[in-house]
Amino acid sequence: MTTQRDAFGARLGMWLFLFSELLLFGGLFLLYAVYLARYPSEFAAGGQQLDTLLGTGNTLLLITSSLTVALALSALQQGRRQLCQMLLCATILASLLFLTIKGIEWQAKFGHGLFPGGAELETLPAGQQIFFSLYFVTTGLHGLHVLIGAALLLWTLGLTRKGLVSAENPVMLENSALYWHLVDLIWIFIFPLYYLLL
């Protein structure tokens, strides 16, 4: 069947799927925009309580991992399988590190009672409660995508080891890399909106 080998088609399909992922987050960004307009000072106060250092660290991690996955792809295309696998491992490692840091951040917020239903949060003004609710939903959903992306990369790694993903047939790696870039891209929006601008 010729249809199976259409690499361009496979990439097109992935792009289309990524559009729909973007719009999934689009709904959350829409809520952010509306509530920011309604509660500017409360959002600023909420943003101040996020840990910019950890946020920046995570941003650097994700950008680096986007680079390593791109390098993994070009390594594969040059036939350097060993290097490709190492770069993939590095990417997956970065994703796990990202999740750990995210976990530490959440942990701290939980410790201060700053979570939906938490005692401390209930005492804050309405706008700040909204801020933290949005923060948890958005970073939670993003974290889930990090996890999915990492699983995808792990699977690709397996296929690369078996030689099923190769210079001749790189589609799977191309597509998981695309997905990973999306995960990165969404974070690039989340980071300034929640940690920096406010």
Binding site: T3, L12, L16, F17, G117, I130, V137
Partner: protein
């Protein structure tokens, strides 16, 4: 051997249990039929619920149901009809079967993803049904799941929402598959200007599926999380705003109206030229209007919220935009009528359903403008006028187009013809029953009867009795139609490869189509409605 080939793709492999042949098949035709069977089953289930709703409304006061049961009834009816019947109806069932055949491809771009879509759809349906019998009882929010009620009612809303999410995911995957297929797998000579109009409509629909459905996804996730841990994002007591839920919901659900109706328009655009023996009038205008509807339709969601609380400016803008979307829809209607003009019309069953579509859809569209003008909407919002209006669009429009597609394409899919005379009688009964059912509903709505109540004031009774009797007539017609189609599939006379002398590619292959659509990629040499060339690729 020749015996086997007659059955085409329907031939059992005999390598595994017959059921596995189907539910694990990656053949687009089989997946399409899986969808078709499921969709028809859910339609019948939804119909029974609709009949029960109507029965309750035959007299004021409790008749067969309590208020709570009634709430559950219309919620289920809405959820089943919208998410399980009408959204997957034409695109996933007939789209799957016909898309590759009509563009001269062997299959869709991602056959395995296609099977996954069906499995997700069934999983979602299963969860929706489970939500009836578990947890706090059947959901009672209406199919719109408005907060704050949806985040507070003790009924099993969370599971129903999860079901909607999963079905939405399935719909996105189908969209991705179709766009890729149309871009990549057209046969040589099948350039964009030669795409059948059904394919154009699937293309526009697929984009809406990809871009609008995720917004519904995030919306239902938010309500689920709200019920689980209480985010307060839509809770005024905690700074949230329930109106924002409505915005998010309709940002999906208005475009979803086009997911429902565009493929239907595509079916009609296939049928009308064939039974008028004339090429379509305004091919380009019809194709472009599909895309225009999909694009402009994403900007009008606010017309569902004229009385929910919006600034006057926003109301005016949304009202104006709503009027603008009517234009491409009207373009289609005028082009169909122009195609009929001086055609040599033959009133076979597919054509009868198509003509009924044009008539009923026009009524639905014009009453839509009544609702689109904000000042009139203030009076009829949330009355039975709205219920009548959207049944004219969804049922009179898409439902009838679905029936038209059944009568048009089943002879191709199964190679057998149903009884034409019975089909015609069934059509007449359905048409009469339909109008008897929904026209009085619009009238009683104009008199002020609100929707979603099991009870009403005594002065509304006459019209309600007529509507309920209409629902019985309609149901008889539908049962007759389905029985006739079923008999046709099982025991009908051989239909031949091209019973309607149509010129699109699916009629070139045998009926039923072979397992492998085309032994070699066809070289397309003519336009889809060049009826002189019927039967040639």
């Amino acid at each position: 051997m020749s015996q086997q080939n007659d059955r085409g793709f329907l031939q059992a492999s005999n390598l595994q249990p017959l059921l596995f042949d189907w539910i694990f098949s990656v053949d687009h035709k089989r997946i399409g039929l899986l969808y078709l069977y499921s969709v028809c089953a859910f339609f019948l289930a939804g119909m029974v619920l609709g009949l029960l709703i109507r029965l309750e409304l035959i007299a004021p006061g409790p008749t067969i149901a309590t208020a709570q049961t009634y709430n559950a009834l219309f919620t289920l009816h809405g959820v089943v009809m919208i998410f399980l019947f009408i959204i997957p109806g034409i695109p996933a069932a007939f789209g799957n079967i016909m898309l590759p055949l009509q563009i001269g491809a062997q299959d869709v771009a991602f056959p395995r993803l296609n099977l996954l879509s069906w499995w997700l759809y069934i999983l979602g349906a299963f969860m929706a049904l489970t939500s009836l019998f578990s947890g706090g009882g059947p959901p009672d929010t209406g199919w719109t799941f408005y907060v704050p009620f949806a985040s507070e009612t003790p009924t099993n809303v969370s599971l129903a929402l999860l079901a909607v999410f999963i079905i939405g995911f399935s719909s996105i995957l189908t969209g991705v598959n179709f766009v890729t297929t149309i871009h990549r797998l057209r046969a040589p000579g099948m350039h964009w200007g030669r795409l059948p109009l059904f394919i154009w409509s699937l293309y526009a629909t697929a984009w809406v599926q990809i871009l609008a459905t995720p917004v519904l996804g995030i919306t239902v996730i938010l309500v689920m999380v709200e019920r689980l841990i209480g985010l307060g994002l839509f809770d005024p007591a905690r700074g949230g705003d329930p109106i924002l839920y409505q915005h998010l919901f309709w940002i999906y659900s208005h475009p979803a109206v086009y997911i429902m109706v565009l493929p239907a328009m595509g079916v009609i655009s296939e049928i009308i030229p064939v039974f008028s023996r004339k090429p379509t009038f305004g091919y380009k205008a019809i194709a472009a209007s599909s895309v225009a509807i999909a694009a402009a339709g994403s900007l009008v969601w606010g017309h569902h919220m004229f009385v929910s609380g919006m600034s006057d400016t926003a109301i005016m803008v949304f009202s104006l935009l709503t009027f603008l979307v009517a234009i491409p829809s009207a373009v289609k209607v005028f082009n169909w009528v122009a195609t009929l003009y001086r055609g040599s019309i033959s009133l076979e069953p597919p054509m009868l359903f198509a003509l009924a579509f044009v008539f009923l859809f026009s009524i639905g569209g014009l009453t839509g403008l009544v609702l689109g003008s904000a000042s009139a909407d203030v009076h009829v919002h949330d009355t039975h006028f709205v219920v009548g209006h959207f049944h004219y669009i969804m049922f009179g429009g898409t439902g009838f187009a679905f029936f038209a597609a059944l009568h048009y394409w089943l002879p191709k899919v199964f190679g057998r013809m149903y009884n034409i005379k019975i089909a015609t009688i069934a059509w007449a009964i359905i048409f009469v029953g339909f109008n008897l059912l929904y026209f009085p509903m619009m009238l009683v709505g104009l008199h002020g009867m609100p929707r979603r109540y099991y009870d009403y004031l005594p002065q509304f009774q006459n019209l309600n009795v007529i509507a309920t009797v209409g629902s019985w007539v309609l149901a008889i017609g539908l049962l007759l139609m389905f029985a006739n189609l079923y008999r046709g599939i099982r025991r009908g006379t051989a239909a031949g490869n091209n019973p309607w002398q149509a010129a699109t590619l699916e009629w070139v292959v045998t009926s039923p189509p072979p397992g492998e659509n085309f032994s070699q990629p066809p070289q397309v040499t003519h336009d889809p409605y060049d009826l002189q060339q019927a039967g040639k690729p």
